[in-house]
Symmetry: C2
Subunit: 271 residues, 2 copies
């Protein structure tokens, strides 16, 4: 489907855009099901937090309406939204009053092997570490070189995702997923106040798990805790939940809580 | 002057470019004097180091010729080069064989107040810290949100630059400059193996200083060492050298080694 820039069909962008120059922008990758953006409110909430942190001038009601209109035309697929600070002259200084730029791109539904969800995946133990920057932690901003370098560490198809630690060795997330582990019936996920992307599906699954009486805990996670987990899974807003069967020498069974959260995600995502 | 993309006149870029999507690219800001790029070899060397680190597929001889041809038309001004990994589909994985994209943009000579160079500047003590990522340290890559946030900390014209520390509190650089200090006749600049941009003018001044018998030292620099310096200056490849008169409560005189390095830079840059 054709892309939109500020509500108009376009497939190109000004060379002066600060998204290109500095990665001065944010993005959201949104599943679209039956003409509607899935978890739209959560995506908009995260985007709003990012816009506040970066002092972007965005009208979220205009943006929300635009996302809905675009999703209606897309039908089923994936909607990628990029918001940049727009054009600027040379230099890092930005005009805080100039409106942010909205870029919408649509694509077909993601085509992952069904075995990822059914039997679980192997994760590649990435050596690239996430640097710690509390001012940007949690945001889905456009400065993604660490993910690009991490994703380049494996090219085989045996590994469906990569595990990323921070520079202090804490377990944080996948390259394009958040990570949960289960231990003694408690659902753990990493504290993302120093680095990492606070995923929309992670937030939704935490919310739904709590609603169903499952104990949840957001905390620092060591490699040892990961290795001793009863279950491990990854999630994102496009594929839902994949069980993790192994990473490096570690092995985990596919457990009942993983299957439960997977069913919750599937109910949101399956068209 | 019109911009070039891969050697052709253009003012727009594909929305699929990975420079936009992930900041998956590098840049160089090159002074152009009398139709020639200043310190071209050093710019190409840094770019080559970046291309190796990010596994970009760039023909540097083609790029060098293109920069020279563009500079000849520009005459006097500033040439900004952006190299991106080119287009990709959704996802962080890149095709290592696909050629990188070359973007050249020209602008008028930088218009800074003459007093910056003559009398020296005040630096704003930024609270935004540089995160430590050895894999990206030194490169002039497109992930520049830390600089964008730091530059937004001051809007008055009393401060011409901002001082940036790393997350451990070491003195690293300016927002768009490298920093030197002088103590007992020795020229110090920060070790940039954890973060920071290894500037072309910094490299040239270190080289020229050594050639003239001035002792130089690349090392970690504490705030205390900065405060106790005899002279402080900042540099980049566009404006050359500015003496630093103060930062926060600290004050420094404009000293003889600063004036000497400033003259060296001026010889390179003044048209």
């Amino acid at each position: 489907m054709e892309s939109w820039v500020d509500g108009q069909p376009a497939d190109v962008l000004s060379l002066k855009d600060r998204g290109l120059a500095y990665g001065d922008g944010l993005f959201e990758t949104i599943a679209v099901r039956n003409g509607a953006p899935v978890l739209l409110e959560r995506h908009l909430q995260r985007l709003e937090a990012g816009c506040q942190r970066l002092a972007f001038n965005v009208d979220l009601s205009v943006l929300g309406a635009e996302l809905s209109a675009y999703a209606q035309r897309l039908g089923n697929g994936v909607l990628k939204l990029i918001v940049t600070r727009g054009n600027s002259l040379r230099g890092y200084a930005a005009d805080p009053s100039s409106p942010a730029r909205r870029i919408l791109q649509g694509s077909l539904p993601a085509a992952y092997p069904a075995t990822h969800a059914e039997q679980g995946i192997q994760m590649f133990p990435c050596t690239v570490r996430l640097s710690e920057q509390p001012l940007l932690a949690g945001l889905k901003h456009l400065n993604r070189l660490e993910q690009v370098l991490a994703r380049a560490e494996w090219r085989d198809i045996e590994h469906a995702e990569g595990l990323m630690l921070d520079t202090s060795g804490r377990v944080i997330e996948g390259v394009f997923s958040n990570l949960f582990l289960v231990r003694d019936g408690v659902l753990f996920t990493a504290d993302l106040s120093r680095c990492g992307v606070a995923g929309v599906m992670r937030a939704e699954l935490l919310f739904q798990a709590k609603s169903q009486g499952i104990a949840t805990q957001i905390s620092d996670i060591s490699l040892e805790q990961l290795h001793q987990a009863d279950e491990v899974m990854v999630c994102n807003s496009v594929y839902g939940v994949w069980p993790v069967r192994g990473c490096g020498s570690a092995r985990w069974p596919v457990g009942p809580l993983t299957r439960k959260l997977q069913a919750l995600a599937r109910a949101l995502l399956d068209a």
